[in-house]
Amino acid sequence: MGKIHEKYLRMDKMPHIWCAGCGNGIIMGAFINAIDRLGYDKDEVAAVSGIGCSGRITGYMDFNTIHTTHGRALAFATGIKLAKPRLKVFVFMGDGDAVAIGGNHLIHACRRNLDMTAVIFNNHIYGMTGGQFSPTTFKNKNATTAPYGTTDPDFDIAQLCIGAGATYVARGTSYHARLLTDLIVKGAEHPGFSIIEVITHCPVNFGRRNNFESPAQMLLWQKEHGVAARKAKTMPLEDMEGKFTIGELYRSTEIPEYLEEYGRVIQAANEEKKQ
């Protein structure tokens, strides 16, 4: 990383609270690399997070940062972006944050297509509260609230966002860190609402209860189960069983960005005023 971390992180806030072996630091590293590549002025970046382990990321990064309430990061971010469109707004959420308590805000943010970039840390578990199953925990996994195995089917976050109308949807992992940087850069450059789902690992509260002996094993699982979207298209469906696609999954430039549309509202209101 060279000196990038010194440029973008609040080094006086280290050490961070994340457990040894956690994937969150990898995602934060990929993110600041993306910002560096994008060349954004730190004063012009707003980073908004929800609650949970992922929510702590905003405290460690040297931008305009706000750690909001559980599930509501997108609502706060919407207000920031609309009120000061010049700012580059990035939103950080966990899986419980984004698709359980904040699910309503997520689908509506996708539908509106306001120019922001959201990064969802999907570690398939509620980590900070000690390992309860989330809407993305796979079936038959162990969690503190599922001592006999989970019964709930899981959400596919990326597909959910495509269905809800997001105009840039990508999936990365904490193993494919360079790819993740690329995806964040492309998401930020995309004029509209961008979602980057990151499959990451929680060794302490997910791995330990589900037969992963080490964080490295969890990273290897990502390597073995993440299939490049382009390659997946050529594969027989049965070979994709239990695997997931990574890379850019969806992009549309046909749907207008929200503030562009709102400009029409302002224009119409002013024409009416003149009459």
């Binding site: 730190k42 004063d43 908004v48 750690h67 909001t68 609502a75 207000g79 609309l82 805000h105």
Partner: protein
């Protein structure tokens, strides 16, 4: 400024907010506050502002806090169930000290209740609705003219003290239309919030003497952190008991330092009254009418009307109550403000409740009857 208009209470709120410089509204449709959203949707784009219909009241509250972080004056409006949903983020705005205004047009509850009927059931919720200790200013107008002026004042108090301010309306006041003649004293001044002092190190949650730290708008070169976790002067989370205590006492104590500026109470024939009525909002209209007719008959009755209902004007009530024969507290709930009145007078004057919870306004007649029984 002596210009006469026909205005509803809800429309007057919007006009007052716009005059104070509000340029952002986020809300969700709910009776009986919806006309406020309708009016902002019409007026804000004409002024280059943003109207946002969000997916629910929780998001509406989040969006106005976000907008306010950039220095934009922001308002939401709601009623009953929506106000309950907003409470978590109101607590956030209070501890993160982000200015914002919430107009709550009270309807009868709990739950879906009587959506088109008036109530004063949120008197306590407006003060205590979030978890934990949080400061708040609550202002309850009683005419359309006052809804204009007091919503403007709500915006300015919020900006000045970095605190959420609730404008406590009710269905009657929201929906009634009346002739409003604005006078010079109604003029709403547009003010700016206190920013960082150039050349001085910026501490976003500084323990300043006046209890109010300077606010740096997002995107102005001050890269700092805002959180709902309890934080120290730098804005970063802390568990240190001394720092937690310091922050919480400053945040919860700052309004006390400025009570004189925040409080506003109306006294009507209170000095020589034997019977004193303490009322706010629409009920105070009935109380005012009762005082007028009883005075015409030579009966010694008066009214004290808290306009700023929180912080509760206990000194004003105590002073006005001294030596009175009895106090009447009429409310459209089962007795919320009466507890504050009893606390203020501390047993020195008998306090009588007059409550209606059938979805109808307490009438001047009902108040008159009780006054006459007590005289």
């Amino acid at each position: 400024m002596a210009e006469a208009k026909l205005l509803s209470g809800n429309d007057a709120c919007v006009q007052g907010a716009l005059a104070a410089g509000v340029r952002f509204f986020a809300g969700y449709p709910i009776t009986p506050s919806t006309e406020i959203a309708n009016a902002f949707a019409r007026e804000l784009p004409r002024r280059g502002g943003i109207f946002m219909q969000m997916e629910d009241e929780i998001a509406s509250m989040g969006a106005i806090i976000g907008a306010s972080c950039t220095g934009t004056k922001a308002v939401t409006a709601t009623s009953g169930p929506g106000f309950s949903l907003m409470q978590e983020n109101i607590g956030y705005a209070a501890i993160a000290e982000i200015p914002c205004v919430i107009i709550n047009v009270m309807r009868y509850g709990p739950s879906t209740g009587l959506p088109t009927s008036p109530s004063q059931g949120d008197f306590m919720q407006s003060r205590w609705g979030s978890h934990g200790d949080r400061p708040v200013i609550v202002i309850a107008p009683y005419t359309a003219r006052e809804a204009y002026r007091e919503t403007g004042r709500a915006v300015n108090l919020s900006e000045t003290y970095r605190v959420p301010v609730i404008v406590l309306m009710d269905e009657i006041l929201g929906h009634l239309r009346e002739r409003v003649e604005f006078r010079d004293e109604d003029l709403v001044q547009e003010i700016s919030r206190k920013g960082p002092e150039p050349g001085r190190p910026f501490l976003p949650y500084e323990n300043t003497e006046d209890g109010v730290p300077p606010f740096a708008d997002f995107g102005t070169g001050y890269r700092y952190h805002i959180t709902g976790l309890i934080h120290d002067e730098t804005g970063f989370p802390t568990n240190n008991p001394v720092e937690v205590d310091t922050t919480m006492r400053r945040v919860n104590g700052k309004l006390e330092l400025h009570r004189q500026d925040i409080e506003r109470t109306q006294f009507v024939d209170a000095d020589d009254a034997e019977i004193l009525i303490v009322a706010f909002g629409s009920v105070a209209r009935s109380a005012h009418e009762a005082v007028r007719t009883l005075r015409n008959e030579g009966k010694a009755v008066g009214m004290v009307r808290p306009i700023t209902v929180w912080p509760f004007p206990e000194d004003d009530i105590r002073t006005a109550a001294a030596g009175k024969k009895a106090i009447i507290v009429p409310e459209m709930n089962l007795g919320q403000m009466i507890g504050e009145v009893e606390r203020a007078v501390a047993g020195t004057v008998p306090v009588h409740a007059l409550n209606r919870i059938d979805g109808l306004l307490i009438t001047p007649h009902e108040i008159r009857d009780l006054v006459e029984d007590l005289l």
